[in-house]
Symmetry: C2
Amino acid sequence: MTIQQAMQSVENIMFEVVNSDVKTLRDASRHILDAGGKRVRPRLLMLSYSAFGGTDYGYAAPAAAAIELVHTASVVHDDINDHGIVRRGRPSVNALWGRTFALLTGDFLFTKVYELMAPYKDLNIDLAEATVALVEGETLQAAAVKDNNFTREVYMQIIALKTAALFKASASIGAKLAHADEKSIEALGQYGYSVGLAFQIIDDVLDLTADSTQLGKTSGIDLAQGRGYAAAYSSNGHNGSAVAEAVVEEADPMVSIKAKILKGDAINEARVQAKVLAQTAIGCLDILPESQSKRELVELANMVVDRDH
Amino acid sequence: MTIQQAMQSVENIMFEVVNSDVKTLRDASRHILDAGGKRVRPRLLMLSYSAFGGTDYGYAAPAAAAIELVHTASVVHDDINDHGIVRRGRPSVNALWGRTFALLTGDFLFTKVYELMAPYKDLNIDLAEATVALVEGETLQAAAVKDNNFTREVYMQIIALKTAALFKASASIGAKLAHADEKSIEALGQYGYSVGLAFQIIDDVLDLTADSTQLGKTSGIDLAQGRGYAAAYSSNGHNGSAVAEAVVEEADPMVSIKAKILKGDAINEARVQAKVLAQTAIGCLDILPESQSKRELVELANMVVDRDH
């Protein structure tokens, strides 16, 4: 099995595990999974596993699927709190099914994580701790917005918790599954952590630059897309009107806060910071022997900062 | 250690595990835990454990705490979906901290469950499956409300998933922790399942009878309580105004639906059904030798149907 095939296996596992008898949970879960996404976390896990000589991709794939489901669940709940109507180029679960079902779909996905993780026994705690960190990060973010206390220091604390912790877990779980030694697990964890920070910084830069240079256009497209999709979906029995409700709610307060943080030369500074983090991450890979998977881990770190979407 | 002391240990574990560095999560979690609740699920687990000869209550207590946290998390999320402003005689997390933080507090509690369960390895899957059932039950309920398709059959399906599954897991996990044999685990699972059904039927009857005979009064008291508490709490930095928002939202649609189901002689029928279920449950305990814990399990089944709150 190649890494590519392993990633297809991760996809299959995710779709299988959300195949609930309860139609709404099944449909809403498939909707968000179908929309794609970068799958960077499970890819990180599989590459880390492979780089330490792991070859039984079928054994590692459910853990990779579990990690992507943590991220997916958080995305579904985020869109409730931020009134997000478009996600991955599609209307959000919140927009199509409404708040109640979006909340329950997120809970469903969060729980399915532990169904997938159960066979790994000792690794459960790693994922639970990373997920707690993610929720803590989201909470700090919401609190910073509410208290208008969004300094750069707070920002770094937030992204460490909400993003870097799960990236770190992805890489270190991959290493653990391949029975790497303590030092190697630690090094890959550090790699994942730095990549996670870089990933989130660039995500926020992209959000912001798309916003400042194309504000009316992007926004307009998003809203029109949301409405259009919703109309299309509602003929299939979905709750399209929720989109209309969602768009009249207040805009994401993060936008103006991010704008404040990244004003002036800050966008370039942020890009530089992300590049430094990616280089730091790549440095952590010295512990690995040369391999195709190691080269792909280097590439992944570079891709994270060079991407334009 | 007595069962009473074991239950105190369960309390301590829950408070310890929610001691996040993130103030809002810590405060909101403590708020809902402090409010009490019947603790019937962890008690069921501890009694089942003890009835099969388990004596290391310190070993079983974290699992019991995990089960109560599943229930607590679902309650916090329920109050978002139902706009619940009073919970356990106190304003809900949703009322005090608002929707965003209530959602994140529920996610936090759901995740802490698996931090607690990690050492139990094989039992993780039992709790994950019961939690999936709970979420599926809540979803079926929301769908039945939305589709106006709330028959008695659908009702039974809902309460089996949203309540009986977790009661079943509580009892069977207790038996498993005491290394009971397959047949005994199955019997205690059946006991828990029947007690869970009876518990939910009586819960709904109590909701309804309080509603039909004291509607204005109870409602009025609840709202006034909510506002009063909120005002008191908001001076401590809480978001009291959320209560005011919550009360203007639509009332729980379940009330009128339950009323339809339980109209005429249906309340008495429901009580009879619950009593039969409690007796069925008690019958499952025949497999146990006589003991104080067995007697308390009998008592628990009777209490569930005889209670008036």
